[in-house]
């Protein structure tokens, strides 16, 4: 088949350049673009047309070249073509169905290319005609639905999905695609679910189905009632949800693997660096792009599932063996993007295997672990807008997860221990952690690690304030859960404390630059309140009594930072200015930290003086701390364990609109 295709392509190219020997199908297209009704002379015109192999290029270019006045003239014929395409979808003859699907794809694309500026209604009119549009689209969606759900061949189903994806992504902004209104009315949600619920169809079409769903959910999300949102939010069929999770898991795993391969390649010593350098001189940056390109559509799908569907949370913890595609010989032929969409799904052949593979080297994994690894990669580099948005989406997803009680339950489940090897940015002042020594811990430890890692690595001039806020809020939400459920997590809280203190330090030293763009007091308040959580409620969730002492030790040790912060916020709050309010909140929040510092510092100094020690050891300071608790009084602050729940609207609406727009422009 492909060879025939190639031949045809070659033929076409030569023929078009040399002599005007036209394919029959091209002649027929020409007839359509003539004034006359093509069926007038040849009653079997439409029958014959769909037996011909589609010439997408020609058809599209023909559509694009139609002049404004011609539009009126040929509209009837285009309407007719559309109508017959839809009719042909019901044919028994598979060839006709395939050709009709491709023709439709060309129609949608061609018409939109031509009428970039035109309103959606004009486009609908041109394709279907206003009066018949509703009926035509209803027929089309019904046909597609039955093709997707019936036992038609897999390639046919694949083509159906491609057509739908083509339709959904044909405009830069999905919400401006008026045709989708008909897709809302005539839902294909059920067909998508069915694809996801069945292992074999999921393996072949899962990726497309999930992307399609994610995009449909984002159609006029905020302006109208989108039935896909409603339907997605109430799916509770476990195999289907699992299927969706598997597809996402698969795509993210594939990305992680590619990244890892690339990383290893880069670290392969002098020789390999050399070869890759030489190689990169010849090979265009296409390869580079691929590896950098994030799977945002999939990430968006994950977000929608987590955000909209309560039941999907269980899927996050559903274990799968970690599928390392590199280890298994890939038998799938390289997927050439046959469609103009360019969505190349990762090879999903493993997914169709219902039995878990039996490889002792496979670590058991789940969607959440894969997602955390993915997030750790994406968050490493947030310099360009594109990746910043990916990182933001990751943090939003984590926010949703951290708020969910069920998710919290399994994050903290002591029986579900995993080794999660997060990717860490190579930095000068620290060695790369050895992967092998990661202990097996409850999953929440990995989340906290990821947050700490982010905090430590993003203190830069171009400060990602938004991401920091989300990060600190995620930690806060997790602490609230631990406090409420009295879960004593064996986590090295010290790393978190010192990361947070360093963050405060960074805010202080870059006050002027940062204040120009951000409200740093809000972030400072959140950070100080995290400390307040530990100080006031530490008895409910700290793992050892020693850890409470260490908290005090850390605060006292870094008292300079808190002192400076206090000075700064006091200064700002006494001046009149836009930050007055925000700064004064921080001064109030600091009351306990200051009480601790003021209480213990003199005690430690006098201890040093009495014992004639210039430099106290940690153990000695801890001893002082332990013996002086009873004379310290703290103030109980309000609402430390309360947080604002995540809601997409109105705060995040702009981000998601932007994201969808970018996605369509950039990725498809």
């Amino acid at each position: 088949m492909s060879q025939v295709e190639k031949k045809a392509g070659l033929l076409r190219r030569t023929s078009s350049s040399k002599k005007p020997l036209k394919e029959k199908v091209v002649l027929m297209y020409d007839e359509i673009f003539a004034k006359e009704d093509p069926a007038k002379n040849n009653p079997r015109f439409w029958d014959e047309l769909f037996l011909m192999k589609v010439n997408l290029e020609y058809l599209e270019s023909k559509l694009e070249s139609v002049d404004g006045e011609d539009v009126q003239r040929i509209q009837d014929n285009i309407n007719s073509l559309f109508h017959h395409c839809v009719q042909a979808l019901g044919e028994e003859h598979q060839i006709k169905v395939v050709n009709a699907l491709q023709t439709l794809c060309a129609l949608f694309r061609g018409v939109h290319q031509k009428n970039k500026s035109a309103s959606g209604f004009d486009i609908i009119n041109m394709l279907m005609g206003f009066d018949k549009a509703e009926q035509r689209m209803k027929d089309l969606m019904e046909r597609l639905d039955s093709l997707l759900c019936g036992d038609s061949s897999e390639s046919l189903k694949s083509l159906c999905l491609k057509l739908l994806l083509c339709l959904v992504t044909v405009t830069d902004n999905i919400s401006q695609n008026t045709i989708l209104e008909y897709v809302m009315i005539n839902s294909i949600f059920e067909a998508i679910l069915q694809i996801l619920s069945d292992a074999s169809s999921r393996g072949q079409h899962g990726y497309d189905a999930v992307v399609l769903l994610a995009l449909l959910v984002n159609y006029r999300k905020y302006e109208s009632v989108n039935p896909y949102i409603v339907k997605l939010s109430i799916v509770d069929d476990e195999p289907t949800l699992d299927g969706m999770g598997m597809v996402v898991h698969q795509a993210l795993t594939e990305y992680n693997r590619q990244y890892k391969d690339k990383e290893e390649e880069n670290q392969g010593g002098f020789f390999s660096t050399l070869t890759s350098m030489v190689g990169s001189m010849f090979i265009a940056d296409a390869d580079e792009k691929l590896s950098v390109q994030t799977n945002e559509a999939i990430l968006l799908a994950l977000y929608e599932a987590v955000h909209l569907n309560r039941n999907f949370i269980t899927v996050l913890a559903q274990s799968h063996p970690e599928i390392d595609i590199a280890a298994t010989p890939t038998t799938t032929t390289p997927t050439t993007p046959t469609t103009p969409l360019g969505t190349t799904p990762p090879s999903l052949d493993m997914m169709s295997n219902p039995e878990l593979p039996l490889d002792p080297n496979l670590q058991t994994s789940n969607l959440l672990i894969t997602f955390l690894k993915y997030a750790s990669i994406v968050m490493q580099d947030t310099k360009d807008e594109h990746r910043l948005n990916s990182a933001r989406l990751c943090l939003i997803i984590l926010t949703c997860i951290a708020e969910d009680q069920y998710a919290d339950a399994f994050l903290h489940d002591d029986n579900m221990n995993f080794r999660v090897s997060l990717h860490r940015m190579p930095m000068r002042h620290r060695k790369k952690a050895v992967d092998k020594n990661i202990p097996s811990r409850p999953l929440v430890c990995a989340v906290l690690d990821l947050m700490v890692e982010f905090i430590v690595t993003h203190m830069m001039k171009d400060f990602p304030m938004d991401l920091y806020l989300r990060c600190v809020q995620i930690i806060h939400k997790l602490l609230c859960y631990q406090k409420k459920c009295r879960i004593r997590l064996h986590y090295t809280w010290r790393e978190l404390w010192s990361a947070l203190i360093n963050l405060l330090k960074f805010l202080l030293s870059n006050e002027t630059t940062l204040l120009a763009k951000h409200n740093i007091f809000h972030l400072a308040l959140l950070v100080v309140n995290l400390f307040n959580m530990f100080i006031t409620y530490g008895d409910t969730f700290l793992p050892t009594s020693n850890s409470y002492d260490e908290l005090y030790y850390e605060i006292v040790r870094m008292h300079q930072v808190f002192d400076n912060l206090y000075c700064m916020v006091l200064r700002v709050s006494t001046n009149t200015g836009q930050w007055k309010e925000a700064a004064s909140k921080v001064t109030h929040a600091l009351v306990n930290v200051r009480a601790i510092i003021n209480h213990f510092n003199p005690k430690i100094e006098s201890y040093a003086a009495v014992n004639h020690i210039s430099q106290l050891s940690e153990e000695q300071v801890l001893e002082v701390v332990r013996s002086n608790y009873d004379t310290l009084t703290l103030k109980l602050q309000d609402g430390l364990d309360q947080f604002e729940r995540y809601s997409e609207q109105p705060k995040e609406a702009a981000f998601f609109k932007e994201l969808v727009r970018e996605r369509e422009g950039g990725l498809f």
Partner: protein, 880 residues
């Protein structure tokens, strides 16, 4: 007292075929005993026997034929003189049979080709009783003829040649054709004298003393087909549970002994199988396991294999699919299954939300083992699939290198399994009828084992009236838990969101009744999409907010004045809280089970119940089971039976020895399940985790020497030590390292792993020569060698041994029958039973026994080999 009389009687009977016990007390009422008629019926229908025996399983209408059977077998031959010659088999000799034969002929011809399948136990029982009644009467009346007849019976007992056995056998199968009412309808005027030997047996059989144990014993030892067949029928009269205990014995006899025994047992087995799925599967598993020792070629055609196939083919299903009773039930089930989808939150919404097509497909798939058809060939399927998947998991786990990987894999495999639950499956180790509804997969844990991967799972079940007929519980999605999880969330979630705000009451309601799923919900659903979205919004913004307020911060909100707290208080609370948490074990990736097993059972139940979507149902219970793959549990089963027997003997004799037999399920010769001992960890784990001596650990767990708790725990320890010391001695339990001895939260020790008992011991240079394991640590817990408790320990052992000796037969019998045809290592050599018998020391006086106990204890205390063995285990397996 009862037993004291019983066992000698048994013995004398068995030994004295020729000796004549004195005839019992006489009376003079006229007899109605009708034995002479029985031979006649036998002869009349002998022609039909071969056919009917072959297909009698499918026969349904002629129950009464079979039930008359005991009448035939029990009575002695018509004429004592004739009976002495082998050819004079009773049936040919009776002139009086002619009348009976006519009627029996008629019915037998009718039964030909149809045969009889299921025996009604009640009818069988009645038949037994009738015979017994007659015998009794006869015994009372006739003294003199009894002598004569008795002699005849004896001769027949002694010298049955092959032919006569064959004939007897045929006669057995014939008996069905004898009509029920006949004996009483036609009193024989010249009834022959009955044998007093037989009547002795009969008197025993009818006496209250005659229990299942004796029945099994006679079945095994008697060569007399009449007796065997009688017992075969008599089995129907025992309570199922009592017979169930001897199921391994019954099946082993069925597999490995001669046809007569098999034929005698078969009707009972068939009957029970058709009545119960549980019994069917247990039997099928055991039959497979006990047949496995046969040579492969014989095995294929053995009766055991055939019966197994028959059971598994499910032809014994009592309710054919067209039966009127089953079809409405099926219908109802499917209806409720359909509705289960819609009884949850946003009931009707689901219909719009999820694809009906998807559901249909899903249903089909899940029917493979969950939503089964009520009757038909699928009867055993769900349970078999369930067990199969559990065993497969075990096999797959064994290929993974580390404990951690195994546990992770286990969890993920179980989570997949969870998708198919609830289903009509049950845990065979449990007492009550139930359906398995969920496996809390994250709680499962891999146990310590060198190369196999046994694992323990916790299983949530819902009790029901009848596992086989009660409707399978409706599935509740995992996430549904949140609404019912805690009271604090309930209020706001019901108020705020429609999608998960079902209260538990709602759910229970829709679960137990058959909800009407059609009209209202759907109508509501189609209209309210818009409204739902509003609800969803409301929910995201509000639902859990309130629950995030802690008590402290609310109080502080209410009072405007600042609240002060002392830092010292916080610190103190922290250390107090930490101190109050029970001494949990540390998590150890190399020994994941330690933590799981140390957690008190009640605690675990509470925790899992809280986290379960089914937890709110009042029928909810938590069970646990250990799944073993690649291990032969037949010896374990044998040990369990012996332990159970000894336990009941000691209870009966009121000796306060404590042992804990744990249930064993043999699935095949290399797989099975074990009921875990709750609240118990191995001594090895205790040591490794606590780093304390056993005594110190006792002090830590139970309190100081003088506390009530410690003394109770110490007494428990001593009583269990005594029990298990005796067990270890009698059964020669070996491989007693600390990993195989558990300590429960009350201070009892429990021995596990009976892989080396009787004639087998681990191949290790003759370690473990002492009678049982009694380390100085044990003695320390008992308060030292000179303490009262140590003397109490020895006294308990003596009492226990005396009691066990008294009922030795009951113990021996279990082992002896299982030896039949077995290749198990514990039966290696020829002297297994004799040695076991010797260890009961029947010949010693009680004083001598006391001396023996002293010697045993002394030897064990002194024995350095236990110590050596422990260090050997430490070196080789890392067991402390």
């Amino acid at each position: 007292m009862a037993d004291a009389e019983g066992s000698p009687a048994v013995r004398s009977l068995r030994l004295s075929h020729s000796a004549q016990p004195p005839p019992p007390a006489s009376s003079s009422s006229p007899t109605t005993f009708s034995c002479p008629s029985s031979p006649s019926s036998a002869s009349s229908s002998s022609s039909s026997c071969s056919e009917s025996s072959s297909d009698f399983l499918t026969h349904h209408h002629h129950h009464h034929h079979r039930h008359a059977r005991p009448q035939l077998q029990l009575p002695p031959p018509t004429h004592g003189d004739q009976a002495s010659s082998p050819s004079a088999s009773p049936r040919s000799s009776s002139p009086s049979g002619s009348i009976g034969s006519t009627c029996s002929l008629g019915s037998s011809s009718a039964s030909e080709g149809i045969g009889s399948g299921v025996i009604d136990p009640e009818v069988a029982l009645k038949a037994c009783q009738e015979v017994l009644l007659k015998v009794k009467l006869q015994d009372d009346q006739r003294q003199h003829p009894a002598d004569v007849a008795e002699r005849g019976a004896v001769t027949q007992l002694i010298s049955p040649d092959a032919g006569s056995i064959k004939e007897e056998d045929e006669e057995d199968t014939d008996t069905p054709s004898q009509p029920d009412p006949r004996p009483s309808a036609r009193p024989e005027p010249f009834s022959p004298p009955s044998s007093s030997k037989q009547s002795w047996l009969l008197r025993l059989f009818e006496s209250k003393l005659f229990d299942v144990s004796m029945a099994i014993s006679y079945l095994y030892k008697s060569k007399e087909p009449g007796v065997q067949a009688y017992i075969g029928n008599r089995l129907f009269s025992f309570p199922d549970s009592e017979v169930d205990f001897y199921l391994p014995q019954l099946l082993n006899m069925y597999v490995h002994m001669d046809t007569e025994v098999g034929d005698a047992i078969r009707p009972y087995l068939i009957h029970r199988c058709s009545a119960s799925i549980t019994f069917s599967l247990l039997s099928a598993w055991l039959l497979g396991a006990y047949s496995s020792d046969m040579h492969i070629s014989t095995q294929r055609h053995s009766r055991g294999t055939k019966l197994r196939k028959l059971i598994l083919s499910d032809e014994l299903n009592p309710a054919p699919s067209d039966s009127p009773t089953s079809s409405p039930r099926t219908h109802q089930r499917s209806k409720s299954d359909a509705t289960m989808a819609s009884n949850g939150p946003g009931a009707g919404l689901r219909r719009t939300g999820s694809n009906p097509k998807v559901e249909a497909v899903h249903e089909e798939v899940s029917q493979r083992f969950s939503r089964e058809v009520d009757s038909g060939p699928e009867r055993l399927r769900p349970q078999r699939e369930f067990i199969k998947s559990l065993l497969c998991i075990g096999k797959r786990l064994a290929t993974l290198p580390t404990k951690e990987q195994k546990t992770q894999r286990l969890i993920s495999e179980l989570s997949l399994l969870n998708h198919k639950l609830p289903a009509r499956v049950w845990l065979p180790t449990a007492e009550h009828q139930h359906h398995v509804c969920r496996v809390p997969h994250t709680q499962a844990v891999v146990l310590n084992s060198k190369d196999k991967a046994p694992y323990i799972i916790y299983v949530e079940v819902l009790d029901c009236d009848s596992f086989e007929t009660s409707p399978v519980p409706v599935r509740i999605p995992e996430t549904r838990i949140r609404s019912a999880r805690s009271a604090e969330n309930l209020d706001c979630s019901t108020a705020a969101n429609g999608s998960s705000g079902m209260t538990s009451e709602h759910r229970t309601g829709s679960f137990s009744t058959v909800p009407n799923y059609d009209n209202d919900d759907e109508a509501w659903a189609t209209d309210d999409i818009g409204q739902l979205q509003v609800e969803m919004e409301a929910q995201t913004s509000s639902s859990d907010n309130i629950s995030q307020f802690s008590v402290d911060s609310i109080t502080s909100l209410e009072s405007k004045e600042p609240v002060f707290i002392a830092a010292g208080d916080i610190r103190r609370r922290l250390s107090e809280n930490l101190a109050h948490t029970p001494t949990a074990f540390r998590r150890d990736p190399e020994d994941p089970s330690a933590v799981a097993l140390k957690e008190p059972w009640e605690e675990k139940v509470r925790r899992i119940r809280e986290a379960s979507p089914y937890g709110h149902l009042h029928t909810w219970r938590l069970l646990s089971v250990i799944v073993k793959c690649g291990d032969d549990l037949r010896q374990e089963l044998l040990a369990y039976q012996v332990l159970r027997q000894l336990q009941s003997i000691w209870q009966q004799e009121r000796v306060p020895l404590w042992i804990k037999p744990y249930k064993i399920l043999v699935m095949s010769s290399d797989s099975g399940m074990i009921e875990p001992v709750l609240n118990a960890v191995s001594l090895h784990q205790v040591r490794k985790q606590s780093q304390l001596s056993l005594l110190d650990y006792f002090l830590q767990e139970h309190g100081s020497f003088t506390t009530e708790a410690f003394l109770t725990a110490q007494r428990n320890f001593v009583q269990s030590c005594a029990g298990y010391s005796l067990i270890c001695y009698l059964l020669q339990v070996k491989d007693r390292h600390n990993g195989n001895i558990l300590l429960d939260s009350e201070g009892h020790i429990i021995h596990i792993d009976f892989g080396f008992i009787l004639s087998s011991s681990p191949r290790n240079l003759g370690f473990e020569t002492s009678a049982f394991k009694l380390t100085s640590e044990f003695v320390d817990v008992m308060g030292g060698l000179n303490g009262d408790m140590f003397n109490y320990y020895k006294m308990l052992m003596l009492q226990g041994l005396i009691a066990a000796r008294k009922h030795m037969e009951k113990v021996l019998q279990i082992v002896e029958i299982m030896q039949q045809g077995s290749h198990l290592p514990c039966f290696h050599g020829s002297s297994t039973i004799r040695s076991l018998k010797d260890r009961f020391h029947m010949s010693l006086t009680e004083e001598q026994l006391q001396l023996l106990v002293e010697q045993l204890v002394d030897g064990s205390v002194r024995s350095i080999t236990t110590k050596l063995y422990d260090s050997f285990q430490y070196v080789t397996n890392g067991i402390m």
